[in-house]
Symmetry: C2
Subunit: 216 residues, 2 copies
DNA sequence: GGGTTTTTGGACTTGTGGGTCCATTTTCGG
DNA sequence: CCGAAAATGGACCCACAAGTCCAAAAACCC
């Protein structure tokens, strides 16, 4: 109802060749954005890089540029979680948590000042709603896994410190803490994007883990 | 050196009338953005709303749209800190911290899904560097005040709990904790912008304050 | 009050890059 | 191997808002 135009449907091409072309276009656009930024992104560039014609672009992305951008956003969103695996999927020990922390930090340090997902989303004109949905879904999944990891920590803490009461994170609401940690990460990345320094991201991660009772 | 074109200089009009016009334009553009978003922002709209002509726009903002956007960003950046006063300037007691927390939360809840500053910055084409500078300066000031507040808390803690060692925040690096807290806020706002829910912002704030030893 | 600078009006240019169309070729199912 | 559906090439369009210009009016300074 709130999506009057735009082509939000994932439309998978029926033929093998078509699917390949579509993939090529999306990946090419993604690389283009990573290298040159979204501002510079013209359909022509994508055409040149992926050796396709305009008719193909509009064939696979009837909604035009927004549609393509949305596909790129989906790709990049998937990559965000993938890049944190396998740790994010199995935050079952303090060691796993720290490995995860290091991976996140390294990933965003390497990515540097330009976040393809954030920037793709920000350029979405008409299909803003759909873009938000992609981002929201990513955040939800991310948070879910963090919360699972926190609960794991809490269970282990209970077993080990049964009888004692020194466990720092026993009384915490796992979802809420996951939300706070996720917010810290997002903010850290945002600040990294504007200042070029990952200090805030690192501080947020370390502060968050400390709060969960994980000492460096 | 890295600013080849663009008009980064603040150029204050020499005459009274000129200054007024310039202000009118910036404020009109800011309102326009708040109401309709940046995507919708056309110079014509600004002209209509502020009763100015194109020559005026380019007279006061030789760099064109980017230049204007930058001015809006500066305005909104100033507003961000102002809206947190007077608490942010005097985080000298737990009560002040909590009042500040409430104010931040209320401010961003009211602002809702669209952050004028963030969105103005994101639309800056050429003058991206200058935009980053504005954002970086805002973050730096913000963090400085948080850090000052944390140090205050630590000093008070020492006095009160002299001899004891139960003070939770005594050993913390104030700047680092301020950085983490700021990251949480930024991330919370970012998430608010994409999901419409302020839960993350609230979680980040509460988690951050708890870490500073401030119980609700 | 006169000369200079600033401010303002508004018509005109521009060019760019997104979007449309149709003809041709290729793929694919049976 | 044939006919339908899908994929592709590339010419064309064109809206549209950013940016330019010059001349008239107002403000300022002494």
């Amino acid at each position: 109802m709130t999506v009057p135009e735009g082509q939000t449907k994932e439309q998978l091409p029926p033929t093998r060749k078509g699917a390949a072309t579509r993939r090529r276009i999306v990946e090419g656009a993604a690389r283009e954005i990573r290298e040159a930024g979204v501002f510079a992104l013209r359909l022509e560039d994508v055409m040149a890089r992926t050796a396709t014609s305009k008719s193909q672009l509009f064939h696979y992305f009837p909604g035009g540029k927004d549609d393509l951008l949305l596909a790129v956003a989906r790709l990049e969103a998937a990559r965000v979680l993938d890049d944190q695996q396998p740790e994010l999927g199995a935050l079952t020990s303090p060691q796993a948590w720290w490995r995860w922390r290091d991976k996140v930090l390294a990933r965003y340090r390497a990515q540097g000042v330009s976040c393809p997902l954030h920037v793709a989303l920000s350029q979405l004109g008409t299909a803003t709603g759909a873009g938000r949905a992609v981002a929201a879904e990513l955040l939800a999944q991310w948070q879910r896994r963090l919360a699972a990891g926190i609960r794991h920590l809490q269970r282990d803490g209970e077993n080990i410190a049964a009888g004692l009461d020194a466990d720092p994170d026993a009384g915490l609401d796992a979802d809420r803490e996951a939300a706070a940690l996720l917010a810290g990460i997002q903010g850290g990345v945002l600040i990294l994007m504007t200042t070029g320094s990952a200090d805030h991201l690192e501080a947020a991660l370390d502060s968050g883990l400390a709060r969960l009772g994980l000492a460096p």
